[in-house]
């Protein structure tokens, strides 16, 4: 069966290559039959890879240890939930997972554009099938997921205990969906460049793909943070690990792209910038994969050294060379349709937003690659860890936070100084009052102070935007508050959904600031019945326990937690020794979350005096990070949900509005509702 599965991959590769060639050839020679054939090729590729994936999933769930991959990542005691997640846990499986998802996305793009964009689709298909072919080639020559063992072991190695967490099921697939999702706008950009159809059509067509890809990258990063927080047992959630950075980089440039495309859609400007940005974002998604898989950077996340590294490196260089050659040769077609009317305009503020996001991305990339650069230049190795990224990144991220509040206050095209000052007055005043209050109560850390002050500024700025719109709707239609809010969001989903996303981002900033700036840590040692006090918590050891289970032994503690004399929780931190990994005990944190703070307890074992040792952390506002993520998800949903069913009339109307806005004279003053 597994030899057959490998042949399926070979067949998929042949069909992918055929489809890529036939699609481009059919377009150039105006052969409709070739184009139809290429579309069928896409669907067939998806079918074949679905079949191959189903075979691997079956093998994982059935614990068929004839397969090297199954033996390496599962065991007889691994629950089915985690056996399934082994599909993307390892190098080989994740390559197949990537190829399968990409083929599905390509088929979906074909379906969505069955009656439009016929001048772009052939090259879109060629681009996507070329990427598909690359991943299939990797599996065929270097990392075959269906490689069998010479003998069948009685049991597998099992999944790393750190990966046996619900977050493990969510985190990698979310990131992959984000990475792969950005292939779609990239493919459309390449098609637009090849056909010289460089108006905003390719951006409008891929807008939802961009938002969805960005959304999954956001979710993937947040799931990873939550997973690190509850699983790694050090009380933190982001370690600036190279692979973490690699998933953060395309998120930064993707966020910049999401904003700058609005300028091209409205004003026909920044065309060169936007195609370059989507190319950079796509390259960074592949760079991230390269760093994880090549072994050139040591990381807790990396798959380890592999033969695929050189393939990825050449793939990145080749793609970069081709894409930027295309951009250079199409520069005359990428001229802006309009000029900028004023330095004080939303367009300028979006450019500043892009500058800071790209600056942050450069800082993170520079720090990630600096160890290699330093060794190449000086011969001496250095480590670039969290202290570097925190020091360099924090001022840039704070500036971004501030800008999030400033942008809504500025009109498109040309804002007058008078109106800008008027819009700025209340948010500035309130945030300044907040800052003075914080100073008075003793907050002296500059960064923490700035973070809270800017957060107040943004909250008020965005709140004011909602209030102005709701008030206008209430007066115009004599609506109640909630009806007016509903109508407001439906009338401009993109704008108000975006504001909700910004609110979620502010919550994340506040959460990170609280968790990092006001953390309390204490090591306590307790005998049975003994208690210790940390801040206003009293923690008493009720007893220790040992629980053998299939595949592992759990050593834990029952802790009674009191606050103001009342019992508020029974918490059970554990250490787990997994069979076959006795030298790597795994920590299960005990966590009690409230909006105000997290009580986070790690069981560190027993000491020479036979006392149980615990690391106790109190992390204020950490729950706001996860809540902020949910608010961002809500905001994304609001931008995407089809509140109004689109029909042909809506599409024509939207096109007319886009053209009319580009020709209108400058609008000064308040932002229009």
């Amino acid at each position: 069966m597994y030899r057959f599965a490998y042949h399926i991959l070979q067949l998929a590769f042949i069909i992918t290559a055929f489809t890529a060639l036939v699609s481009a050839f059919g377009f150039r020679k105006s052969r409709g039959d070739f184009l139809s054939s290429s579309r069928r090729g896409v669907v067939l590729t998806f079918g074949l890879l679905s079949f191959a994936s189903a075979i691997l999933v079956y093998a994982l769930l059935a614990h068929d240890f004839r397969l090297e991959y199954v033996a390496g990542y599962t065991s007889t005691t691994l629950p089915p939930f985690y056996s399934l997640s082994a599909f993307w846990a390892g190098q080989k499986g994740s390559l197949l997972f990537w190829a399968w998802i990409l083929s599905g996305f390509t088929a979906l793009v074909i379906y969505q554009n069955r009656e439009k964009n016929q001048h772009l689709m052939p090259y879109v298909v060629t681009t996507l099938m070329t990427i598909e072919g690359f991943f299939l080639l990797l599996m065929l020559v270097a990392e075959n997921p269906f490689e069998t063992l010479a003998f069948t072991p009685a049991d597998g190695s099992g999944l790393n205990p750190l990966l046996q967490n619900p977050g493990m099921v969510m985190h990698p697939p979310s990131l992959y969906l984000g990475y792969i999702g950005f292939s779609i706008p990239f493919a459309f950009a390449v098609a637009a460049l090849l056909t010289r159809r460089l108006d905003s059509q390719w951006i409008t067509t891929t807008r939802k793909w961009t938002i969805i890809a960005w959304f999954f990258l956001t979710l993937g990063n947040l799931f990873g943070m939550k997973w690190a927080y509850v699983e790694l047992g050090w009380g933190g959630f982001w370690a600036w690990d190279p692979v973490e950075n690699a998933s953060f980089l395309p998120w930064l440039t993707g966020t910049a792209f999401l904003h700058s495309v609005m300028i091209q859609e409205r004003r026909g400007m920044l065309k060169v910038w936007n195609v370059s940005l989507v190319v950079i974002t796509f390259l960074l998604t592949i760079l991230g994969t390269f760093l994880t898989r090549s072994g050139i950077i040591s990381s807790v996340h990396s798959f380890g050294k592999s033969a695929v590294g050189p393939f990825f490196l050449w793939g990145i260089l080749g793609t970069a060379g081709f894409a930027f050659w295309l951009i250079l040769t199409r520069l005359p077609d990428l001229r802006s349709e309009h000029q900028l009317d004023s330095l004080l305009s939303r367009e300028s503020s979006f450019l500043l937003n892009n500058l800071l996001l790209l600056g942050a991305a450069f800082a993170v990339l520079w720090g990630t690659l600096f160890p290699m650069i330093s060794e190449a230049v000086t011969g001496a190795k250095v480590t670039v860890g969290a202290p570097f990224f925190n020091q360099v990144g924090t001022p840039i991220f704070l500036a971004l936070l501030l800008l999030t509040g400033i942008c809504p206050l500025i009109a498109w095209r040309k804002a007058t100084g008078k109106n800008f000052r008027r819009n700025f007055l209340w948010p500035f005043t309130l945030s300044l009052l907040g800052g003075i209050t914080l100073w008075i109560v003793g907050l002296r850390d500059v960064y923490i102070w700035m973070s809270f002050v800017f957060a107040i500024f943004v909250l008020y700025s965005v709140g004011m935007e909602f209030w102005k719109g709701i008030r206008a709707k209430m007066r115009a239609g004599k609506r109640a508050f909630l009806q007016a809010l509903d109508s407001l969001v439906r009338s401009n989903q993109r704008r108000y959904g975006g504001y909700v996303v910004h609110l979620g981002l502010v919550m994340i900033f506040v959460g990170i600031t609280g968790a990092v700036g006001f953390k309390t840590e204490q090591k306590i040692q307790l005998s049975q019945g003994q208690s210790a006090t940390i801040k206003d918590y009293t923690i008493q050891l009720a007893g220790l326990y040992t629980k053998p289970e299939p595949g592992k032994v759990r050593y834990g503690a029952n802790l009674d937690v009191y606050k103001n004399g009342a019992l508020i929780a029974r918490m059970t931190p554990e250490k787990r020794i997994h069979k076959g990994r006795e030298e790597q005990p795994h920590t299960e944190v005990a966590l009690r979350q409230t909006p105000k703070e997290d009580l986070y307890i790690i069981y560190a074992g027993t000491n020479g005096e036979k006392k149980a040792v615990f690391d106790v952390h109190i992390n204020p506002l950490t729950a706001w990070i996860w809540a902020g993520g949910m608010v961002m998800a809500l905001g994304t949903f609001l931008t995407l949900y089809p509140f109004r069913k689109r029909n042909k009339k809506d599409t024509r109307r939207e096109k007319h509005i886009t053209h009319t806005r580009a020709r209108q004279p400058a609008v000064t003053g308040d932002t229009a509702v």
């Binding site: 000029q339 009317d341 520079w366 000086t378 250095v382 969290a386 360099v392 840039i396 790597q584």
Partner: protein, 149 residues
């Protein structure tokens, strides 16, 4: 802006008075040697516990943070530090992002000035055209007046 950002990078260190270090603070500046690639503060392995114990011993001897970090560098090498030292070629790690931001800011500013300058030129041209049309508008007014009369 570059100077302000650089100051913000330096400021967190300069704003703190000299206090006895804590194990947490020092361990944030070192890497664990167990091969996990994590900062010592974050790693929970036995090796990390031993290293933290060694740090506590140095603190008890009255050593400050720079001295403790140097002791670890002497024992291992500079890869034990969680961030590159701010000297020599390694200084470029710290300042390059801000230099790049400053250069990009300058380029964008020049681009925006050019764009807004071109836009102002277009506005002036449109104004000139209107001024030039005025005599003809007056003639048209008179002709229309004649027709109405």
């Amino acid at each position: 802006m570059l100077v302000n950002l650089l100051l913000l990078v330096i400021l967190p260190f300069n704003s703190r008075a000299e206090e006895p270090p804590t194990v947490s603070e020092v361990s944030k500046g070192l890497m664990c040697t167990c091969g996990c690639s994590m900062v010592l503060y974050s790693c929970q392995c036995g090796t990390a516990e031993q290293m933290r114990g060694a740090i506590q011993g140095m603190i008890d001897q009255g050593m400050n943070t720079p001295a403790i970090l140097q002791a670890f560098v002497n024992r291992y090498d500079q890869t034990i530090l969680a961030a590159p030292p701010k000297k020599g070629f390694n200084l470029s790690a710290w300042i390059t992002p801000f230099v790049a931001l400053a250069v990009a800011s300058g380029l964008i500013y020049l681009l925006l000035k050019r764009w807004t300058g071109a836009s102002r030129d277009q506005d002036e041209y449109r104004h000139q055209v209107r001024e030039e049309d005025e005599p003809y508008l007056e003639m048209l007014e008179k002709e229309l007046q004649t027709i109405e009369d």
